[in-house]
């Protein structure tokens, strides 16, 4: 395929498909401006599994399961599935948790930020600004030699854990035993039929794995080495989502304000200062991790157990976010959002300064 299509054309096509699907997922049942959000969906899964008790956000989002399984199938088919790990897994777990906590203050991940903007929600601009500044901070540490250490080959079984776990969760989603929680109202009660979500997830999983799509790396490479490969995926995604939203009548320009019915529908809040800082945390953590939440999810399907641990950290971070009142809602930021973001930033800064290679 690589001989037929230049890689950049492929990632642009993939971005377009992803953007169109992300817009259509709203038509098919997902909440407004939330056709796709890696963070929110992992949070919903955490809720369904009983890790948190926020009744409005408990549902096994098959899109996430599809991402991992699609990545697994694509990696396997193209002989890129490799069981590996050992690069500071505990630190990655915590980075994943803080990255999630940051995303849940803004109410969106690195994918949902441009997606919200593609629905006209200008809070997306604040978020993207934050991501860019966080990425710049991450680049500063990378240039100074920040390194979480080498991952090495692991026993094959290790790499299979995340895909098998996702199959297990898929079975829970299909058979819905009594211990799986499901929101009857609120954002997680809004979703397409399972088969639609899983197919979209699989398609995006395959495309994202093949093209290495990353919604933090795009900004990072643009700034760090003036490389536009990954960024063209983000841009294609945004433009395709915007055009599709226009076609579907879903675009409403403005800063969606917390406490309004619009905020409740679009699951947004407009605390500009903390939207900026929380996404700064997400951008910084993603850069230190080597990939945004979407990318981590994809990598976990390829046998990367460090990414697997990061995804588990994101699940736990989502649980903390709701249990410890650090997550925002459409009414505004959470009671403990500010301290969570500050702690996360402090953690990342300490890590950034400490985890440096000894040689110059």
């Amino acid at each position: 395929m690589r001989k037929l299509l230049k890689p950049k054309i492929l990632i642009i096509l993939a971005g377009i498909v992803f953007g169109v699907l992300a817009a259509y997922l709203v038509k098919w049942g997902n909440p407004s401006n939330m056709g796709f959000c890696t963070a929110c969906f992992l949070r919903d899964i955490a809720g369904a599994l009983g890790l948190h008790g926020a009744k409005a956000v408990q549902y096994i989002r098959p899109e996430i399961l599809g991402l991992v399984l699609g990545a697994f199938v694509a990696a396997f088919a193209f002989r890129e599935f490799r069981s590996r790990g050992g690069s500071s897994p505990l630190l990655r777990f915590l980075l994943g948790a803080f990255m999630m906590m940051g995303a849940l203050v803004f109410l969106g991940c690195t994918v949902r930020a441009p997606l919200r903007l593609a629905g006209g929600d200008l809070n997306g601009i604040t978020a993207i600004g934050g991501i860019i500044v966080g990425v710049i901070a991450g680049i500063f540490f990378l240039r100074k030699g920040f390194n979480l250490g080498r991952a090495t080959k692991m026993h094959a079984a290790a790499g299979w854990i995340m895909p098998v776990l996702m199959i297990g969760i898929l079975l829970l989603a299909i058979f819905i035993p009594s211990f799986i929680l499901r929101s009857e109202s609120g954002p997680a009660s809004l979703h397409p039929a399972l088969w639609i979500s899983i197919i979209v997830g699989l398609v995006v999983g395959v495309l994202a794995q093949r093209t290495r799509m990353c919604f933090a790396g795009g900004w990072r490479d643009l700034i760090m080495v003036r490389d536009t490969y990954l960024f063209s995926g983000i841009a294609a995604f945004f433009i395709a989502a915007l055009i599709t939203n226009y076609a579907l009548g879903y675009v409403h320009w403005g800063f969606i304000q917390a406490g309004t019915p619009e905020a409740a529908q679009y699951i947004a809040q407009d605390n500009h200062l903390w939207n900026f800082f929380s996404m700064g945390l997400v951008g910084l953590a993603a850069t230190l991790l080597g990939g945004c939440p979407l990318r981590q999810t994809i990598l976990s399907g390829e046998g990367d157990t460090d990414a697997g641990v990061t995804v588990l950290g994101m699940l736990v971070g989502a649980a903390f976010a709701h249990n410890f009142l650090t997550a925002s809602s459409s009414k505004g930021i959470g009671a403990n959002s500010e301290i969570a973001v500050i702690l996360g930033l402090v953690f990342c800064l300490i890590l950034g300064f400490m985890m440096r290679e000894k040689t110059a």
Partner: protein, 73 residues
Amino acid sequence: MIEIDVRGLSCPIPVVKAKKAFEDHPNEPIAVLTESAVSKENVSRLADSRGYSVKVENVKDGFRLLLTPTGRK
């Protein structure tokens, strides 16, 4: 020949190290040892954009990229 081993390093550290090698040793050929298709692609893309020709050798559990400055920018 300057040899850089970026096996097992997270994105974008292979690119960061390659970039540093280009800056520290301009106009010299550089060999980069990597274990993944992704870092092979990323380093190749950087090298190409900096005017290096890229020759990829398959080695055990990875790739050895031979980057040779061509003088073009």
